[in-house]
């Protein structure tokens, strides 16, 4: 087998050194009843590289590739162009096949990259500090709620109706077991966010308010009144960013005094990948850093006085603190963080702003064009690169009908909020720099036909 270097002669020689008559003797501690006498039944034996490639390629062909059709899906995962350099660099074996940098003298590459990543993320989100990544945006969001509980010693979190429904589901799952109380709501198919209701709901038991920016329908709201209201009650404001490219065009949540800002970093460097692996972003105010979950990289010096980097503040973490840790997280999303960081470095501030501008301009054009389709109404007057349409009839079958015509039209609110009649007519449409004017025209034309 091509991945196994030992030869039969090696094995014989090594067994002699060990003093074992046969490899089975090394498994002597396995109780007789649990020993298998041959390969497990019902599974095929080994295969050549060529055969495996054929098998996997056949499976891959059974999927509709986003890049091959007019494509408008977002809702927490966005299709952006990733420069070829990114994938080349993350496949360097020294990054790809390294472990968590627990031996810093021979892991400065990963550590310096993480220090750069943390700085990039903090600046992008407008926070003082950021960690070395979480699994994804949804788990980062839940961890932020847990962090707010530890800081405020209160157990009630108020979640905006504009928060991604999967993120809400994750929080609900966890809250059921940790005893946190969650107040949740559905979004309204309207231009208005629920900021006023959130402000009214904050009380002396509230640990945090969680709001997505831009929200699940694409709406953008000024978070400053919400931050002030939360702080007046000694609660925290947690902002969730699922489209980091938006930070190239918008005031950041940190600038609006959010205490913790988490996000999904997939847009930069990572690609769609059918939902994972992605990379969770996690930033906060400096005063809360010791309550942060996850790994942190910090600057220090070596014995010769040269600058170097190490994992630090690990007394928060499970391998030191065990059951008293701030989180059970261990492995994070290092390679995706690298991809994010390289893409951000290639863009730079000028490139990120230009990219954000192109996304916004494309979305404005698409929103105008699609709103001209008879029966279609633009629900969200202000947005970044994602907006919501009211189709005047149930959107989910329309999306399926358009898929049959080779157009991936967006995410229906029926898919995100099944059974909610008040939202069923909503379609969330995302437009990025990868969307062409022809794509928009194809969608508009097909939508008109299907709706008629």
């Amino acid at each position: 087998m091509r991945y196994l270097p030992l030869t039969p002669a090696d094995r014989t020689e090594m067994l002699a050194v060990i003093g074992a008559p046969h490899v089975d003797a090394l498994f002597a501690d396995v109780p007789e009843a649990a020993r298998l006498d041959g390969p497990i039944h019902g599974l095929p034996n080994h295969a050549t590289e060529l055969a495996v490639e054929r098998h996997m390629t056949a499976l891959a062909r059974r999927n509709t590739v986003a890049g091959e059709v007019p494509f408008f899906l977002g809702a927490g995962a966005y299709r952006h162009h990733v420069p070829a350099t990114v994938d080349h660099l993350i496949q360097r074996g020294e990054f790809l096949t390294a472990y968590t940098p627990y031996q810093p003298e021979i892991a400065q590459g990963t550590l310096q990259m993480l220090f750069e990543f943390q700085t990039q993320v903090a600046r992008l989100l407008g926070t003082d500090v950021a960690n070395a990544s979480m699994y994804d945006g949804s788990t980062a969001c839940w961890e932020a709620i847990g962090m707010a509980r530890r800081i405020t010693r209160r157990g009630k979190a108020i979640l905006s109706g504009g928060l991604h429904p999967h993120y809400v589901s994750v929080a609900k799952t966890m809250a059921r077991y940790t005893g946190d109380q969650l107040e949740t709501a559905l979004p309204n198919l309207s231009a208005d966010t629920d900021l006023d209701q959130l402000i009214a709901a904050i009380d002396d038991d509230t640990s945090c308010v969680v709001v997505q920016y831009p929200d699940i329908l694409g709406r953008i709201a000024d978070l400053r009144p919400l931050a002030d209201a939360a702080h007046a009650k000694k609660a925290l404001l947690i902002a969730v960013v699922t489209e980091p490219v938006a930070m190239g065009a918008l005031v950041t949540p940190g600038e609006m005094d959010a205490d913790i800002v988490v996000g999904e970093g997939q847009s930069l460097g990572v690609g769609l990948q059918f939902g994972g692996p992605y990379v969770g972003l996690f930033g906060c105010k400096e005063k809360y850093v010791r309550q942060m979950p996850g790994r942190l990289c910090g600057e220090t010096v070596d014995a010769d006085g040269r600058r170097g980097f190490v994992l630090t503040l690990s007394t928060r973490e499970q391998h030191i603190r065990r059951e008293k840790a701030t989180s059970n997280i261990c492995t994070n999303s290092g390679l995706c963080a690298l991809a994010f960081s390289i893409h951000m470095t290639l863009l730079g501030e000028a490139g990120l702003r230009r990219l954000a501008g192109l996304n916004h301009a494309g979305a404005c054009h698409a929103a105008d064009r699609l709103a001209q389709v008879p029966g279609v109404r633009l629900v969200t007057p202000s947005f970044f690169n994602e907006f919501t349409l009211d189709l005047g009839q149930e959107a989910r079958p329309i999306v399926r009908a358009l898929a049959d015509r080779g157009i991936l039209a967006g995410v229906s609110l029926g898919r995100l909020y099944p059974g909610e009649d008040g939202l069923a007519n909503g379609l969330v449409v995302a437009v990025t720099e990868t969307t062409t004017a022809e794509d928009v025209e194809a969608l508009a034309t097909a939508l008109q036909e299907v709706l008629a």
Binding site: Y3, I18, A51, L73, S169, E264, P277, G298, E349
Partner: protein
């Protein structure tokens, strides 16, 4: 065939050992110092060309960004050089043996990478209509079938993002099962003291009280103590098998039966599944839930700390409580079971743990690896992994203290202690000495049950020649530690950095770069 049969090795010349002159750049030939992007980049530089186009539309309300962000850019050649230079300061499996115990640093096949990048997997959105992602769902279904069959379990939850997330998945299923039975008052999870730190952290995160179970003198769970502690307040146990001392828990079946009789559940930490894959099925040992680190046993890359993937296999008893989503086959069609169609037969699911459907990019890699090995190859994986570890153990037990070596063979990792080192010398010194020898050190100071633990897991993808060189290097370092060689206290001498001041880093943390004038 053995490469380098003649045993050639480079000779160190006198000038290598002596003091080399300082260089203008601080570089040392191929060892290149690299500044931070913030020190070499400019916010006006970009390494990406954009299409011409109008960006004048503005429907951002009054929230248009006004302040600078402070993100430097590099032109493409500068960026390639920056990250390539950084990469060369890392040790990696591609460079050599990476003997981190309990981490299973095996070769990462490049076919896996190629398959994961097929556009049909890499460029597919998780919320596309299910009719347009049948191949992706079939990948998940095929991998699930392999994992269930290899473990002898009933079902598998694919969505957990990493090992610790998988632990959480298993523990939440146990909690949901207890609540369904009206026994939510069972609040105690028993955890052996040799467990990974994630085990107690996970149990606590899910609201359980954690109680330690001691180890016996031969490095295994104290079965009698564990059984004696069982009772109406115990929700279950979390047990690692093979355990973190590299030993098979012979009594696991007995423990499982006792836990079940007492109304609890058995969680198995599957971090060390590589030792038994294809040879032993955890389902035959009475396990109710076990996570599988695809980034260990099934060769998906560690990537400098993730992403991982931690599917959890379940017994009959816990299957109804498995999290959403999952994939089911209905004739020729694959269905994604989510909140809306969980329906009657999945009504007890404890809910969703992540947005979307899990680590698809890791699933394609793991399935590629599994198909490559097949059932016969995976069995050989376990055998060679165990053979390599025992070879290391028996080749070094004369020079290093091996606390459990007398009791019999180890599994996939061999455990040593620093108890015979000279006064003032410890495991840390041996680890740093190994760095100078060109190896990543083994896992150190874990498990906690052994003084100055050194846990060596060579994996099955090492040749005998590579093992012999590693054994020679560790023997040399151990002898220096026993002799009290003072140069070991200041090792590493040849790495990109000398020992780093971790205390300073933690005392006044510098977690982000600041412009020099703003630094004070």
């Amino acid at each position: 065939m053995t490469i380098n049969q003649s045993g050639w090795k480079p000779e160190m010349t006198a000038s290598d050992a002596g003091t080399a002159p300082a260089t203008f750049t601080g570089n040392r030939a191929l060892m290149l110092e690299e500044p931070l992007i913030f020190e070499i980049g400019s916010t006006k530089t970009t390494g990406v060309d954009f299409a011409a186009g109008d960006v004048a539309h503005d429907r951002l309300g009054d929230l248009t960004r006004k302040n600078p962000i402070g993100l430097p850019g590099l032109a493409e050649p500068e960026a390639v050089r920056h990250y390539t230079r950084l990469s060369r300061q890392n040790y990696a499996i591609d460079l050599g043996l990476f003997p981190l115990g309990s981490c299973t640093m095996k070769h990462n096949p490049r076919l896996n990478e190629k398959m994961a990048r097929l556009p049909g997997f890499a460029d597919v959105h998780p919320l596309q209509p299910v009719d347009t992602v049948q191949g992706a769902l079939e990948v998940i279904h095929q991998l699930a079938h392999w994992l269930v069959t290899l473990t002898g379990m009933t079902s598998v939850a694919m969505s957990p993002k990493a090992g610790a997330h998988g632990e959480l998945c298993g523990i939440l299923a146990i909690k949901a099962a207890l609540e369904k039975r009206g026994e939510g008052h069972r609040r105690v999870i028993l955890v052996p003291e040799s467990a990974h730190g994630t085990n107690p952290a996970t149990a606590a995160f899910a609201g359980f009280a954690v109680e330690d179970i001691p180890a016996t003198a031969d490095g295994r769970v104290d079965t009698a103590a564990l059984i004696a502690r069982l009772g109406p307040d115990v929700a279950g146990v979390m047990i690692t098998n093979p355990n973190t001392c590299g030993l098979f828990e012979r009594d696991l079946r007995t423990i499982s039966d006792a836990v079940h009789d007492a109304g609890g559940y058995v969680y198995c930490d599957g971090a060390n599944f590589n030792a038994i894959v294809g040879r032993v099925r955890p389902g035959d040992l009475g396990v109710d839930a076990m996570h599988i680190n695809l980034h260990k046993t099934f060769s998906t890359p560690h990537g400098g700390g993730g992403p991982g993937s931690g599917p959890v296999v379940f017994s009959d008893a816990l299957t109804p409580f498995a999290p959403l989503p999952f994939v089911e086959r209905q004739g020729d069609h694959f269905v994604l079971v989510e909140e809306e169609n969980a329906g009657d037969h999945h009504a007890d699911s404890f809910g969703r743990m992540v947005a979307f459907h899990g680590q698809m990019g890791m699933f394609t890699r793991a399935l590629t690896y599994i198909l490559s090995h097949g059932a016969d190859g995976l069995k050989q994986v376990a055998e060679d992994a165990v053979l390599n570890a025992n070879y290391v153990l028996r080749s070094l037990e004369d020079v290093l203290d091996a606390p459990f070596a007398g009791a019999g063979p180890c599994m996939h990792e061999s455990l040593f202690s620093d108890s015979n080192f000279a006064e003032g010398f410890s495991t840390l010194d041996a680890a740093k000495g190994l760095i100078d020898e060109g190896f990543h050190p083994m896992t150190v100071y874990f498990p906690l049950v052994v003084h100055g633990a050194m846990l060596v897991e060579p994996t099955e993808t090492e040749s005998k020649a590579a093992l012999d060189q590693f054994i020679g290097a560790l023997r040399s370092v151990a002898e220096r530690a026993k002799a009290g060689d003072p140069s070991l206290k200041t090792a590493p001498h040849h790495a990109p950095r000398a020992r780093l001041d971790e205390t300073r880093a933690a005392r006044k943390p510098i977690l982000v770069w600041k412009e020099p004038e703003a630094a004070e």
